[in-house]
């Protein structure tokens, strides 16, 4: 008994010492998904892109609403429809003390296609570049093959790394730059090459345990209030919340929806939520006949009939899904991007819930008794994904379309979806560019490898009118005109019920009292968005 008492007091002393170590200047963040590498050009995916923004910067930045802001380029403009001029910021230094110049931009553009075994390359953001000229160290002139209004957006998506001395005179060549050994991903992970211009410097990276960054005291912009930032990957949701409650971390991302009301009641915890760029949608098979998963239509694909698609849309009570399943942490969607984004069409409204009209439409289309349907969904990818699918299935069954849900883990779901095994599936899309062309191009434009259209259009929807509008928008450099074209294209897709938007996800962050977080539509968790209040 005496020993156990002594143990307890030793524990208490140890805990006290542990707390003394936690300085107010250190910010600890529990993140739900860990980046796969610190090489900013290796893996184009959310967690990596969020992490690299602390160390590396781009020519163009995106603010919390994904609007473009100057970053390493002070300004940019078009000289003509296919020529862009970027004026670089002067006096910016890399973490190793070297100056940032146009040579670093050329070197970065050259390295992006030369990352070995990249599972998701950044070349999708650089392939529009035909030629690059650097008349002086602080001017970069970029030529594109055709008018390409998305160039500044795409230049906000890849990072500038520091060019070694022997790459100072490198010349950009679309077919491959002439340079010896490109840096390896492992050299970024070890910290040796993790040298950027960003607000934080690399300190330590232990895979699966922590990423530690230190404030860059020579940063050109607003310096961080945090001397040190520790990112701890805690992939499981309940332990992540527990770590916040225990005071081991100051902030966590993606608290589970069902825990948010309880966290809000806690006097020591605050929650910040903001609309994200992600829309959850339902997609139809517009192509196969007969289509898998549909029974009772005599071999016909009912979704080729616009009236059936409209009936499905009207049978779904979006408000109820948001209220009851998402706990209010979502917003019913009228289109593929949320309000406030470039290309949002204010004339489109959320589809009203009208089950009686849905039944009428089904009868008109020749399915008075409905049919049988299988709805495919992932069960670990989006917030409450399987529950939403179950609700949709019940609503459809109520108007006569007897729907069953086929839910599986994301790796299995995406494989089956990409093999066109579903006639009706649910998924989500986050607009990485922060404007309307991203979902339009990926989800509803006719699949076309040359144009890069329809990458995720696994319903194989095809509408020449929409394709033409999109073609025109993507070659219109004038912003106002392009926005009008994108709005029109969005209206065409929505009025044809090509795809059914359900809701926009709301992203939440939970943190201890004494700090604030500014929510970001791109769902990134950035230390630069955390500010102390006291």
């Amino acid at each position: 008994m005496r020993t156990s008492l002594r143990c307890v007091s030793v524990l208490a002393v140890m805990a006290g010492m542990g707390m003394g170590l936690a300085q107010a200047q250190t910010l600890t963040i529990g993140i739900s998904s860990e980046p796969s590498a610190l090489d900013p050009h290796y893996h184009n995916l959310g967690p990596n892109n969020a992490m690299r923004r602390h160390i590396f910067e781009s020519l163009v930045g995106q603010d919390e609403n994904q609007r473009l802001v100057p970053q390493l380029a002070e300004s940019w403009r078009t000289l003509d429809d296919t020529t862009w001029e970027f004026k670089l910021r002067k006096g910016v230094k890399f973490h190793d003390g070297s100056d940032f110049t146009a040579a670093d931009v050329v070197y970065s553009l050259c390295r992006i296609p030369n990352v070995k075994d990249s599972p998701s390359s950044f070349t999708i953001y650089t392939k529009a570049v035909e030629a690059v000229e650097t008349p002086d160290p602080y001017t970069v002139i970029v030529r594109t093959a055709r008018p390409y209004p998305l160039l500044p957006v795409e230049f906000s998506s890849w990072a500038v790394i520091s060019a070694p001395a022997d790459a100072e005179n490198l010349v950009f060549d679309k077919d491959g730059c002439d340079y010896g050994d490109w840096p390896k991903t492992a050299d970024f992970n070890s910290g040796e090459l993790a040298i950027g211009t960003g607000p934080f410097r690399f300190l330590e990276y232990v895979k699966g345990d922590r990423i530690v960054l230190a404030r860059n005291d020579d940063y050109w912009g607003e310096k961080s209030p945090w001397e040190k930032v520790v990112f701890r990957p805690i992939t499981s949701a309940a332990p992540r919340v527990a770590a916040l409650l225990a005071g081991d971390v100051d902030l966590i991302d993606n608290p589970p929806v069902q825990d948010i009301p309880r966290l809000k009641e806690n006097p020591d915890i605050d929650v910040a939520s903001g609309l994200s760029n992600r829309v959850i949608y339902l997609h139809f098979d517009h192509f196969q006949e007969p289509t898998p998963g549909v029974k009772g239509t005599g071999g016909k694909n009912p979704f080729k009939d616009r009236r059936v698609r409209e009936a499905v849309s009207k049978a779904i009570n979006r408000e109820a899904i948001v209220e009851r399943i998402m706990g209010g942490l979502a917003v019913p969607a009228s289109q593929l991007i949320p309000p406030g984004m470039f290309g949002y069409n204010p004339e489109l409204g959320v589809e009203p819930y009208a089950p009686d009209r849905a039944k009428e439409l089904l009868t008109e289309a020749g399915y008075p008794n409905g049919f049988e349907l299988v709805l495919g969904t992932p069960n670990d990818r989006y917030i409450n994904d399987e529950k939403i699918a179950q609700a949709v299935a019940q609503m459809l069954t109520r108007v006569g379309i007897a729907t069953t849900v086929d839910a599986s883990t994301k790796s299995v779901f995406f494989k089956r979806r990409n093999k066109y095994e579903f006639s009706f599936y649910m998924a989500g899309w986050g607009s990485g560019t922060g404007e309307a062309s991203s979902p339009l191009r990926a989800l509803v434009a006719t699949r076309d490898k040359e144009k890069g259209y329809g990458g995720t259009n696994r319903g194989r929807y095809s509408n020449p009118e929409l394709d033409a509008l999109l073609d025109e928008a993507l070659s219109t450099v004038d912003d106002a005109e392009r926005e009008k074209l994108l709005q029109e294209a969005m209206a065409v897709a929505m009025k044809d019920y090509a795809i059914l938007p359900l809701h926009y996800e709301v992203t939440s962050w939970a943190f201890r009292k004494g700090i604030t977080y500014t929510p970001r539509t791109d769902q990134y968790t950035l230390a630069t968005s955390v500010k102390p209040t006291d």
Partner: protein, 325 residues
């Protein structure tokens, strides 16, 4: 002894090959890692290019042959996700897991055997019954829930211990370990207890059953009759004879603790191999999963071998021989 070792090694090689084939084909059947890894923004051309870069456009048999020929040269492949050699990723995580496993095993041995012997010696008294009742609890609590409860009790409410992570590490012969720093030790306590509870319950039951059996043996009676002190009877004659089943089971359990401490590592965000395995399975990172399971088969075989040798040391009647049993 030598023939015995050779035969065991041969069996081991076959097991490893069968394992590699099963896992390789199994993961291939689940899906294409590119579907999970690639940015949704990627257009069809980029998706194709990425599949080519990772060699996933080749037919399964050719991918497998390439894997085998590389494996024979000691290269178990490069992680699709991390772009680093799979074996290195695993070895990097190994110290964390081994440390946790050893801590848990030590806890279960030094708690389990004494408690089990007490329960055996006093099986009809309240102490014995109390220990057995507690061991049922240790058996039946779900690991994840139990871990969350430990966190809630000791980290959230009492605030004595950290809720997860590994804490400060110092290198010991070049390997980072946490049990030599105060901060590291604090981080080790809760996950080690969580992992040890089930094993402790197991050891308690084995030790109790063994004690009750041995108590009635002639040599114990004889030792007592001879006037050997009770202390010596229990600590030498009885303890030695109950250890054989305990060693067998602990050997097997040690393997599974190393390989599949997944739940504990997930709950406590412990950067060990189990967490790597789960992440790799979710991302269909085939090279890592295959390398991992091959390594684990190897570890199991090694442990079994050690168990056999320990047997012969504990019980001179057991002789390792090359002849078929």
């Amino acid at each position: 002894m030598l023939a015995y070792l050779i035969r065991r090694l041969f069996q081991a090689a076959i097991t490893i090959v069968v394992m590699a084939v099963l896992v390789f084909v199994g993961i291939y059947a689940i899906g294409n890692p590119i579907d999970v890894l690639i940015s949704p923004e990627a257009d069809p051309a980029e998706i194709e290019a990425a599949i080519r870069r990772l060699g996933l456009d080749q037919p399964l048999w050719r991918q497998f042959l390439l894997f085998v020929s590389n494996a024979l040269r000691g290269d178990l492949g490069t992680s699709f996700v991390h772009n680093e050699p799979a074996l290195r990723l695993i070895i990097e995580r190994m110290p964390a897991t081994l440390e946790l496993a050893v801590a848990a095993m030590l806890l279960s041995i030094f708690l389990g055997i004494p408690l089990g012997m007490i329960a055996g010696l006093r099986h009809d008294r309240a102490t014995g019954r109390g220990i057995m009742a507690a061991s049922i609890l240790g058996f039946s609590l779900p690991n994840f829930w139990q871990g969350m409860m430990l966190i809630m009790l000791f980290a959230v409410w009492a605030g004595w211990l950290p809720s997860g992570g590994r804490g400060d590490t110092v290198p010991l012969f070049g390997v980072p370990v946490s049990f030599l720093t105060l901060d590291g030790l604090q981080h080790l306590i809760l996950p080690a207890i969580n992992l040890a509870l089930f094993k402790t319950a197991l050891v308690v039951r084995l030790a109790r059953a063994g004690t009750r059996e041995v108590m009635l043996q002639d040599y114990v009676k004889f030792a007592r009759a001879k006037g050997v002190s009770e202390r010596r009877v229990v600590l030498v004659h009885m303890l030695k004879n109950i250890l054989i089943p305990v060693v067998t089971v602990l050997g097997l359990e040690f393997g599974s603790v190393i390989a599949f401490a997944v739940v504990t590592e997930t709950v406590f965000a412990w950067p060990g191999m189990g967490k790597l395995l789960i992440d790799s399975i979710l991302n269909l990172d085939r090279p890592v999963v295959v390398a991992y399971l091959m390594l684990i088969v190897f570890v199991f075989i090694l442990i079994n071998l050690v168990v056999d040798i320990v047997y012969s040391l504990l019980d001179p009647r057991v002789r390792l021989s090359g002849r078929a049993e």
